[in-house]
Subunit: 322 residues, 2 copies
């Protein structure tokens, strides 16, 4: 399943969301209008609003509150992307020049802040305090997760346990929030909200696991992404953590020394080490477990095209080539 | 009056705020603790919490809600400073190395996001939705004001009217919010909240006017600040806008040409132009008007050491040497 087919059961609603989102972005400051129109032209995949809409439709009937939730997460996500590009000094985003490349860092950070405050105000104006609580918690966890990962990279002391805490915080928390917000807007039964939360948490972890595996095994040509980036930043992801644990002490110590060095060829050596000592296999197995858990979380919902699409989304996340 | 004397009527409460703020910053992630402890060591002037406390005490008795407001604005302000330093690539802050100089941009942006979300969660946990509404509105206006100023700088079409809109949004809105939040936490009479809002708005505008005047007339040695920064960024502040309006058309056109050029000596020429055609005098007169309006806003409060301190704060803002 591709994203087009996944979003099919909420196609009309996604269109409605897109119209609303363009409206939400309108302002009295011409420069803001100019930049937000540019952002809309970048056309993101809209994974987060799609998850909000599907989760909502699975639990009940999409309504005004669902759209508020979808706008909130997309505003937050867009703000984060713009700020990320400033920090990473990225020159492009989604195939065209990044906002910071066109309007410089200062205006980009300000636009990010502006979008964030719009999200807050949208929720406050509509008395959606539960939405705000969930979203703020996610923002806090996202920054905590990233900072914990940086801390572990500095101290070279990541473990499987801290790794899962990091990815649950930095990646799964927002995906989980999208699903919970959607459910919150329509569900009559509180249990349904928890089920969708579990779906989002598991799919988020599975997604990040695969992303981290691909950073070792991905083929550049196929994915348009280069490998070895995590190693460059001294991020210890699951494949490496597990291989270091499995390998003979002396061998692991040698690899640690290599990682701390600045030797240019080190990625190939570490890659071979990670494969040889079962790091990739273990991480793949874990990713499958989390994907299964995501599907299981939907067990008690009766069959429907929406449920099929969400199962399809799990497969979409899992499917990526190695 | 200096800040020490201004904060005298809320000295005990400021101490209590400082203890609470250190507590609010505590987390389960060691790296976050390390960075926030470093931030606390930078020891800011705490102008915003002082304004919250004074405003609250002027209108009633300082209570739990007042401290929540003080923590909220200080969290927001700290986050903004850290993000600003990243954008401006500043190497120092308050005399010691900036957070980005020590921990790099990525960790700095994340810490800023973390502090922001802490502020939101603090308000949500305590059901302080009015606080959030006021604060989000201020964040939105701050980014709008800065972006409008950038837009005007690009198009060279600033007017007195847009100038006042810019500084009301980018500077006065947060000062106003501090005063309103303080009043909101204690006032029995809604009118008092509006009075404090007017006090904050006027003092904020007066402050920014003087800052913009100093960028022309300030003496580097005395202030530790260099002059001509606004001109470098092509920001048209009131002294320049007024001089361009007052001078003969031909003269103004010549100055505009000079500003658009990259001539190194241009600041001295523009400075003389701005003084000669009454830009500095006009802006000083305006700043005095806003300072007076700030004091007038407190007219209906009976005399007290708190009121004296707030009048003293107006004079503190006005007093800066030229």
């Amino acid at each position: 399943m591709n994203l087009n087919r996944i979003s099919e059961p909420v196609r009309t609603e996604l269109k409605e969301f897109e119209n609303q989102f363009a409206d939400v972005l309108k302002t009295r400051v011409a420069l803001i209008d100019l930049i937000t129109k540019y952002i809309l032209r970048q056309k993101g995949k809209k994974i987060r609003p799609i998850l909000v809409l599907l989760s909502a439709k699975l639990c009940g009937e999409i309504n005004r509150r669902t759209y508020i939730a979808a706008n909130l997460v997309e505003l937050l996500h867009t703000a984060t992307l713009i700020h990320d590009d400033v920090v990473d000094d990225a020159k492009t985003r989604r195939g065209i020049a990044s906002v910071n490349a066109v309007w410089k860092n200062k205006a980009s950070v300000l636009i990010g802040d502006y979008l964030l405050s719009k999200g807050l105000l949208l929720s406050l104006e509509n008395n959606e305090y539960d939405f705000l609580q969930l979203t703020s918690e996610a923002v806090k966890r996202m920054s905590e997760g990233e900072l914990l990962q940086i801390q572990k990279a500095r101290n070279f002391d990541a473990t499987e346990e801290t790794y899962f805490r990091v990815i649950s915080d930095k990646t799964a928390s927002l995906i989980k929030t999208c699903c919970k917000l959607g459910a919150l807007s329509t569900a009559k039964d509180k249990t349904d909200i928890d089920r969708l939360g579990s779906f989002g948490e598991n799919i988020g972890i599975s997604f990040q696991l695969r992303d981290d595996i691909l950073d070792y095994t991905g083929r550049k040509k196929l994915l348009g992404k280069s490998t070895g980036n995590d190693l460059k930043e001294k991020k210890f992801t699951l494949p490496l953590i597990v291989a270091l644990r499995n390998a003979p002490k002396k061998k692991s110590a040698g690899i640690m020394k290599l990682i701390k060095s600045d030797r240019t060829k080190k990625f190939d050596e570490v890659y071979e080490f990670v494969v040889e000592f079962g790091g990739v296999d273990y991480a793949l197995k874990k990713a499958d477990e989390y994907s299964s858990a995501a599907k299981t979380a939907l067990n008690d919902f009766k069959s429907s095209d929406v449920k099929d699409a969400m199962i399809g989304f799990v497969e979409f996340v899992s499917r990526r080539d190695y």
